[in-house]
């Protein structure tokens, strides 16, 4: 699983990455993290509000920092 954190490096993106890493550890998922800071690349996903969470090229979240529970909920069906 490739997880991309989209955002220019503001606090929100750092928080999102921390929460997602925690969720990944909790669920025991084998995932690679990538940071996407280039604006053109961020926008190529159709995202206008950062931070964004992209898993295997699919946008799961944008525009707000989710709760850890929400991230687990989003990642769980993708583990199989």
């Amino acid at each position: 699983m490739i997880i991309k954190i989209l955002g220019s490096g503001c606090t929100n993106c750092v928080t999102l990455e921390r929460i997602t890493r925690q969720a990944v550890a909790d669920l025991g998922i084998d995932a690679q993290f990538e940071k996407v800071t280039d604006y053109a690349a961020i926008m190529s996903y159709g995202i206008m509000s950062t931070p964004g969470l992209v898993v295997d090229e699919k946008v799961l979240l944008s525009g707000r920092v989710p709760t850890p529970a929400k991230v687990r909920e989003l990642l769980e069906p993708l583990t199989s």
């Binding site: 996903y45 964004g52 707000r64």
Partner: protein, 350 residues
């Protein structure tokens, strides 16, 4: 588990009961705040209400609690209401709008759209890619920080409805006119070229879609925590300065230099405010203390607006998409609008 997650209700009935309970608790705290500190500072500790120390200490504690309560209430309400809007929806509404009508809409939407200045760059690119004119985009970018929910809540709590409406009206007016002027100046050549080449890919994601009431309420609770954590140092410094002015500054000290008699007062207030990096929450206690000392409302509103609308960190972010001459023009036009509003209010309200 975060506080917000633990507070998450399990049934709709519990959710509404919880909300009503929280609202009642809020009003109770707000009502006991003044008698509590009267009793603690003047009766229990025995400080003299007419002394500098007494009134300064009382102002500090009473104001801290009052402002904290106002902020919690306002941020929660605004976040829940704003969860129905998003930058993506705003962009869809503004796409293809002409200047004029577009500027008015953009300023209004700038107030009600949830917007973090860290998203200023993708939002700017997204607007331009959707064919929103540069001036209309600027109206949005000016109104969004200028008409600030924290400032609205605090102004309303401290000065009542009149000054709050003046502030909102003035902020909208400045955003509309400044955006329109910037659009007329045809400054597209000072936008970084990559902006016009960047395209929003695939389907545009709308973060406001598919939210439940539980989500919105949880977002409200979380946002209260996030904003309070971010602004409390500014708030405490502001209140402490306000308390010092309240208790110790001589009655005529400020009116002598910045009162209605000084024609340059508004201009100086705005120039001082631009490099001053604070936010509405940090500035408002100062504004209140200075108002008590007899400074006119127009000067104070101009000062506050310049602090929140013209901040260096936002300029640095916008530098990624705008060339320096356009940023300078943006600051000059917005600053001129704020100065004009300050003088207008001083003349009208005097």
């Amino acid at each position: 588990m975060s506080v917000a997650e633990r507070l998450r209700p399990t049934t709709p009935t519990r959710r509404w009961v919880g909300l009503v309970g929280a609202a009642l608790g809020w009003f109770a705290l707000y009502e006991v705040n003044l008698p509590l500190w009267d009793w603690l500072v003047y009766d229990l500790v025995g400080l003299d209400p007419s002394s500098q120390l007494g009134s300064g200490v009382h102002f500090f504690f009473y104001d801290s609690v009052k402002i904290a309560l106002l902020l919690v209430g306002v941020i929660f309400l605004v976040t829940v209401l704003r969860s129905f809007m998003s930058v993506e929806r705003t962009r869809a509404m503004l796409g293809g709008k002409r200047e004029g009508v577009g500027n008015v809409m953009a300023a209004g939407l700038g107030v009600i759209t949830p917007f973090c200045s860290c998203s200023a760059v993708p939002a700017f690119i997204g607007f331009v890619a959707a064919g929103v004119p540069l001036g209309v985009t600027m109206s949005f970018l000016i109104a969004s920080p200028l008409v600030n929910e924290v400032a609205i809540g605090l102004l309303f709590g401290m000065f009542g409805l009149g000054p709050t409406l003046l502030y909102v009206g003035a902020g909208l007016g400045i955003a509309i006119v400044a955006g329109f002027v910037l659009g007329r100046l045809k400054l597209e050549r000072w936008v970084e070229p990559f902006v016009f080449e960047t395209r929003l890919g695939g389907q545009v994601i709308d973060p406001a879609a598919g939210l439940t009431w539980e989500d919105r309420i949880q977002m409200g609770v979380e946002e209260v925590g996030v904003i309070l954590r971010k602004i409390w140092p500014y708030l405490l410094v502001g209140i402490a300065l306000g308390a010092a002015i309240h208790g110790w500054a001589p009655q005529d000290f400020f009116t002598q230099y910045a009162g209605a008699g000084n024609p340059f007062a508004v201009l100086i207030a705005v120039l001082v405010a631009i490099p001053l990096y604070s936010n509405a929450a940090g500035v408002m206690p100062l504004v209140q203390a200075l108002h008590d000392k007899g400074l006119p409302m127009g000067t104070l509103l101009a000062f506050m607006m310049a602090v929140v609308a013209l901040s260096l960190p936002e300029m640095i972010l916008l530098r990624r998409v705008l060339k320096p001459p356009l940023i300078l023009t943006f600051v000059a036009v917005t600053g001129a609008g704020i100065i004009a509003v300050g003088y207008l209010f001083n003349a009208v309200l005097a």
